[in-house]
């Protein structure tokens, strides 16, 4: 077993972490497990692909690779647009479906509705793009040695840096700004927060926007490193939930710690028992944490 699994696990963990933050915020503030979160990831990747193609048609050279990376400025710009679009998709889904159920106060029916929405969105993506995988770039990247026998590509380093930046931004938003304080207040007690003058609807919109944008970033990362297909987000859903529960529901640093554990665990399993059993790791970790410490690493008992 070579230490390479640590590098692979870190990268997988970053992708899972970007999605898990949305899941954990959604769960602690809107109070339901959103099964459609995986589709935000897939949608974000396809949206980036389409916007990048449009930019490529309008500006020659936008697809030209920057320095050692496999992507040009076209994909970077498309990513920003797609993050906005994915946030908008999350808001639209909330307006059409979840807001109505929230008014009726049926939390668990909302989970059901999100499962239906997930299925429908995924099937729509399959209809529009077929189930054949697509790629941002077909160029092969050479992995560079970084010591201890580990190798990473330039893309992977750039994406890890970007992830760290996004995570630090979200953490700062939640802990240092008025909006973050309002979000934590709603997570604590929505009724009391409303009475105290917190704009609960604004907080809910912020949760969807942040969750959608980060899921899109996760999708772009997955698309650049692996491939883009309609099931990409759905296959990531169990690791997302496992990471959020492992870290403790509602905790952003916890979600990231959980994601890194799931990511490294998966990468280790690939080396030890084989890639086909990768998906079982998230399930075993989930059962383990529910048996031993259901509140997770950073969670509080409620």
């Amino acid at each position: 077993m070579t230490p390479q699994f640590l590098a692979d696990g870190l990268i997988a963990g970053a992708m899972i972490g970007l999605g898990a933050i949305g899941v954990t915020l959604n769960y602690s503030i809107l109070r339901f497990a959103n099964f459609a979160h995986g589709e935000f990831i897939s949608f974000g990747a396809y949206a980036t692909l389409l916007i990048a193609a449009a930019i490529g048609a309008a500006f020659a050279g936008s697809a030209e690779a920057i320095g050692p990376f496999s992507f040009g400025w076209g994909i970077a710009a498309a990513g920003l647009g797609a993050m906005t679009l994915t946030g908008a998709l999350a808001l639209a889904l909330d307006f059409l479906l979840f807001a109505r159920l929230r008014q009726k106060g049926a939390a668990i029916t909302t989970v059901m509705a999100s499962f239906g929405a997930s299925m429908a969105l995924r099937a729509l993506l399959e209809f529009a793009f077929t189930s054949r995988p697509v790629y941002f770039s077909r160029d092969l990247q050479i992995a560079m040695p970084i010591g201890f026998g580990m190798r990473v590509t330039a893309d992977q380093i750039a994406l890890l840096a970007l992830t760290a930046l996004l995570l630090a931004g979200v953490q700062a938003l939640l802990t240092r700004t008025q909006a973050g304080r309002a979000m934590r207040a709603v997570a604590e007690n929505p009724t009391l927060a409303r009475v105290a003058g917190v704009d609960v609807d604004g907080v809910i919109r912020a949760v969807w926007l942040i969750g959608g944008a980060l899921a899109c970033a996760s999708g772009i990362m997955l698309g650049l490193i692996v491939q883009i297909r309609p099931f990409m987000g759905f296959d990531l859903l169990l690791p997302l939930f496992a990471a959020a529960i492992l870290g403790g529901i509602g905790s952003v640093p916890g979600a990231i710690a959980g994601a890194l554990i799931v990511g490294v665990g998966e990468a280790a399993a690939v080396q030890i028992v084989g890639a086909e059993w990768r998906a079982a790791v998230a399930f075993l970790l989930l059962i383990g944490v529910l048996l031993v410490k259901p509140t997770g690493l950073f969670g509080r008992a409620d």
């Binding site: 239906g116 299925m119 998906a279």
Partner: protein, 328 residues
């Protein structure tokens, strides 16, 4: 020209058999969700466990998968219910004392993991090739499709009938009332000395066992199973059946199962007739969208479904009211 009565009978009985097998699974879900409020997103996993256990118990010995114990079909059914029930009891024991969504997430994980084992543990399950030569009831009639189909349909009707009557009795029993009391107001039920986790665990395990029975019945109807039968779209269809039919109502569960199965087959036939073969996979994605929209619309616009739940009270109360009426 005489209409092909035998062919029509064979097709109709096959369709109804499939629809009623779905109804079995849907009745299991109704016990879990409709009566008790337990959310299962891994139905396909429990159905798969039932199908695989029954297949491994009843097939003749084979080198392509574990065993093949060549036991009678009834033993397969019982084994399927026991295995799926035991798995449900384990999942319930881990999650039922926690927040409701944890059960949903864990059952989802069960479905993913069962799919993974079915696909990859080739020496146990036959892997992607699945398991063939599963014995079918009335195999000797297979030469006469209409009679064969009707005989198999009769078995499945009998299964659904027994399960339906049993569940109706349970729903009216003190046990069933405790389940609904827990669903509606856990604190009140707890204050009357009812242990919520124990009752929920029993309902969840029994519902899971019925899903396993449905899986076994399906395996013995078709005679062949493979991992791709048990994907999340199956879970999704069963949910649509229960929600559209009316959750909490056993008749609603059966009616919803027949209705959604009919829509599913009809749309499958339409896609086959209307689209060129290379476009059929894409068109098939659209019917999942349609069912998803139907499901979401039912939840928002008509949460009670077609039938809705009827208020059930103790049969002793009816008698008490009657005797009070005659006494006046």
């Amino acid at each position: 020209m005489t209409p092909d009565v035998a062919g029509l009978a064979a097709y109709a009985s096959f369709f109804l058999s499939i629809a009623l097998i779905n109804a079995l699974v849907c009745l299991g879900l109704n016990l879990q969700w409709g009566q008790t409020g337990l959310f299962n997103v891994g139905i396909a996993g429990f159905v798969a466990i039932g199908a695989y256990v029954s297949a491994l118990l009843t097939t003749p010995a084979s080198a392509a998968h574990w065993g093949g114990l060549a036991l009678p079909i009834a033993a397969g059914w019982i084994g399927a219910m026991a295995a799926a029930g035991a798995l449900s009891a384990f999942v319930g024991a881990v999650t039922l004392r926690l927040r409701a969504d944890y059960l949903a997430i864990t059952t989802f994980g069960v479905a993913v993991s069962v799919q993974l084992v079915a696909l990859n543990a080739q020496s146990l399950t036959g892997g992607a090739f699945g398991i063939g030569f599963i014995p079918r009831p009335f195999e000797s009639l297979a030469e006469r499709p209409a009679l064969f189909g009707l005989a198999n349909l009769a078995i499945i009707v009998a299964l659904v009938g027994v399960v339906y009557v049993g569940l109706e009795r349970l729903a009216r029993s003190p046990w069933g009332r405790v389940l609904r009391a827990l669903r509606e107001d856990e604190r009140a039920a707890r204050s009357l000395g009812k242990n919520p986790t124990r009752y929920r665990l029993q309902a969840f395990a029994l519902g899971g066992a019925l899903m396993g029975l449905g899986g076994a019945a399906h395996a013995h109807l078709i005679g062949f199973i493979a991992p791709e039968n048990y994907q999340s779209s199956l879970t999704f269809q069963i949910w649509a059946m229960l929600i559209v039919g009316g959750s909490g109502n056993n008749r609603g569960a059966i009616a919803g199962a027949v209705l959604i199965s009919a829509l599913w087959s009809a749309s499958g036939l339409a896609i086959g007739a209307l689209f060129a073969p290379e476009d059929q996979a894409r068109a098939a994605a659209l019917r999942i969208v349609a069912i998803g929209v139907l499901l979401a619309a039912t939840i928002v616009a008509r949460p009670r479904g077609l039938f809705g739940e009827r208020a059930t009270v103790s049969r002793h109360l009816d008698k008490a009211v009657e005797s009070a009426g005659t006494a006046e």
